[in-house]
Symmetry: C2
């Protein structure tokens, strides 16, 4: 089987000058990787004739598939369309279907179409017109000596729609692509090197057609298994068997698979068990509640939250005892426990979780330096607290606190719902 | 004055396969743009000898400055260092100072140095060693026929440190760079095209050496003024004069300049006036509190928040009247007003703000479809509410609600603190 190679060309001065970050190339890379197409090169060039034409000819030498984003606006400085016509040696002509689509696009929005926009329906005669149903600049597909070219707008959601509806479904009909199956096991609460130590024997015994990648991110490590073969169902079965094999070693760190987030996994647990949650956030300042409420349907299990940023409100609203604050301070095991229990009672919830710490950059002491955080989880008849020693960085401390307290909730839930 | 051109080369398979997003190139572009260096090309290549060498030779033809990130790890698949030695025709030798720095780096962290790490102090003899004080892979600086090359690790904070400490200060001594002054005026609460209409005459009358760019983002539009000339102080004065001229037209939308965020601007207002804030978030689920608490020192003015995700807690904790909820519903002018007043009282704050809406994707009705949001701001002797009709997208609705309610607070503060 031939290795199918792709190149991505992003066009636009705004990308070179840093006015816009190119997120398209990254997304395209991920999608192509999933279907076994290998991206070999990415190029970003400005709105400049020579640079664009050179990028085209260089790409043609390297890749079978060339994906181009940007430079398709209606104004003079957008050069992709005329230069593609020039490169492939054809004229720009009216595509009535494309003009009709642009006109319709404006009509639906109750706006008058301009002559400049009508020209967006004029395309190189040698291209296949690919309708853009979410914008005004059409996609253009070209074929030349066994290379395939797709030009797409730079607006991310327009590009993605064209990729999903047209390019990604088309590629398997043009090339013999490897059969690939991916599965991601998502872990939390263990560092990459510890995880690697834990599963080394299993990893070393993986068959050569199944590869493992560690993908660490803030507080999480994803294990991605990629299997190559000829039969997808067979690969899926093999990967699942490997996961079953490693699971006893890592079970307590695993919260989900593939795209599932920790907050979604927790939501699923709570919803399934018919249990409810309340949060008392001090140092995390609302971030944990925000994560929980990004999940559609979170109102099924989230009762509410209190962010008592000052001690007096920890007392007044959550019922933390004055002497607890006095004797141990706001950042202490005793305080977070009373916060978790207090918020659980206030909202009549099954679980209460709490955070209190010194996010920084100021407020640290010798005994409790910046990055000292206490978290707790209270449930029916139990409460558990944990101390974290985090970083000097405020935002990082907020994010790591959130991951840790959600993980504490996951563990407490597991231990108390068996 | 000669135009100084730069090229960025990012090296690493993980960038091509979409495992890591290249944020470095974007950051470097922004920094070079600020000092008048023009990025003409960006290239991403994998860990492959031929591709990397071709990227080097292509870049040398196009640019005066070539900035390379990645491919500097201690393992075999990291090729940047040997290929730079090959490209510049010199040997890799021990740099005692660099070996010492790597050893120190490990010692400070109480870790044993490995033979592989010692080799990170071995560098091409033709490079200038640039210490990396936050990591183990050194920076390397090369000069060849009037082109300047810098190789840096791909880890963003290591690359940034080397750029800030070494590259950016060095460039003005190597090239005659244009004198540039940038200032960004940050607006909220007005769309790009309305803003453009409002300031068209002023924009058309700008002198040719001052350029204006509109940079829209979620709920905000930034106006960036860029002045080119020979004297920085002079340019700064001219830009400030232009801003003074346009200000009467846009004053009520302007919350800050340059890097200042809306939440930071509000924090400054509150802190300066010695006023405090409390939040009642329903549909925004903690996101507004999160934004407010990302600002260091926000404990000076934020008293606390309540997220009463269910109606009973709007009553119980915030004192919203049962008949208000009964008669008008949770998503109503009356309810958000009582929430804002209730939370202001609960936390003895000077200002209370509130949100209540249907974030989606479910929960909409014909009368109150998904995206219907009410926000309010209560202060001493006044209260103001506003209805928003947002989108179908939950995350977008949460973010737009946050911007809108912070802007409402800004406006109320302005009107009641004159």
């Amino acid at each position: 089987m031939q290795l199918v190679k792709a190149e991505i060309i992003a066009i636009g001065d705004e990308l070179l000058y840093g006015q816009i970050m190119d997120t398209n190339s990254h997304w395209i890379s991920q999608e192509l990787d999933l279907i076994g197409v290998k991206v070999v090169h990415k190029t970003t060039v400005g709105d400049n004739r020579e640079d664009i034409l050179k990028a085209f000819s260089d790409a043609e030498k390297r890749a079978h598939i060339i994906l181009i984003t940007g430079g398709l606006g209606p104004t003079q400085d957008d050069l992709t369309k005329p230069l593609m016509a020039e490169y492939f040696g054809c004229e720009i002509i009216e595509f009535p279907e494309a003009v009709e689509a642009v006109s319709e696009f404006f009509k639906r929005r109750g706006r008058e179409i301009t002559p400049l926009n009508i020209l967006q329906g004029h395309l190189p005669s040698c291209c296949t017109y690919v309708p853009n149903v979410v914008g005004t600049a059409p996609g253009m597909w070209f074929e030349k000596n066994g290379t395939y070219w797709m030009s797409m707008p730079g607006v991310p959601h327009e590009m993605k729609k064209l990729m999903k509806d047209f390019v990604l479904p088309k590629l398997p009909s043009l090339f013999e692509l490897p059969v690939i199956f991916h599965k991601v096991v998502k872990t939390v609460g263990i560092g990459e090197s510890w995880l690697a130590d834990l599963i080394r024997d299993w990893e070393n015994a993986l068959p050569s057609h199944i590869r493992l990648a560690y993908l660490p991110s803030l507080g999480h490590v994803k294990l991605r298994l990629t299997a190559f073969g000829t039969n997808k169902a067979e690969l899926e079965k093999e990967v699942d068997q490997q996961i079953q094999k490693v699971m006893p070693l890592i079970e307590k760190y695993v919260y989900g698979y593939d795209e599932e987030t920790l907050e979604a996994a927790i939501g699923k647990l709570l919803k399934k068990a018919g249990k409810t949650l309340a949060l008392a956030e001090s140092c995390s300042g609302g971030y944990v509640s925000h994560l929980v409420t990004t999940i559609p349907g979170s109102s099924n299990y989230l009762q509410g939250s209190v962010i008592p940023y000052h001690n007096q409100f920890k007392e007044k609203i959550l019922g933390v005892k004055a002497e607890t604050l006095e004797n141990f301070g706001a950042v202490s095991e005793q305080t977070v426990i009373e916060m978790a229990e207090g918020v659980k009672n206030l909202f009549s919830a099954d679980f209460g979780i709490s955070t209190s710490g010194i996010a920084g950059p100021d407020g640290g002491t010798e005994e409790k330096p910046v990055g000292t955080v206490w978290i707790a989880c209270a449930g029916e008849g139990f409460v558990e607290a944990k101390k974290l020693q985090l970083t000097q960085d405020r935002m990082l401390n907020i994010q790591l606190t959130a991951v840790s307290v959600l993980n504490l909730l996951r563990i407490c839930f597991d231990q108390n719902n068996k």
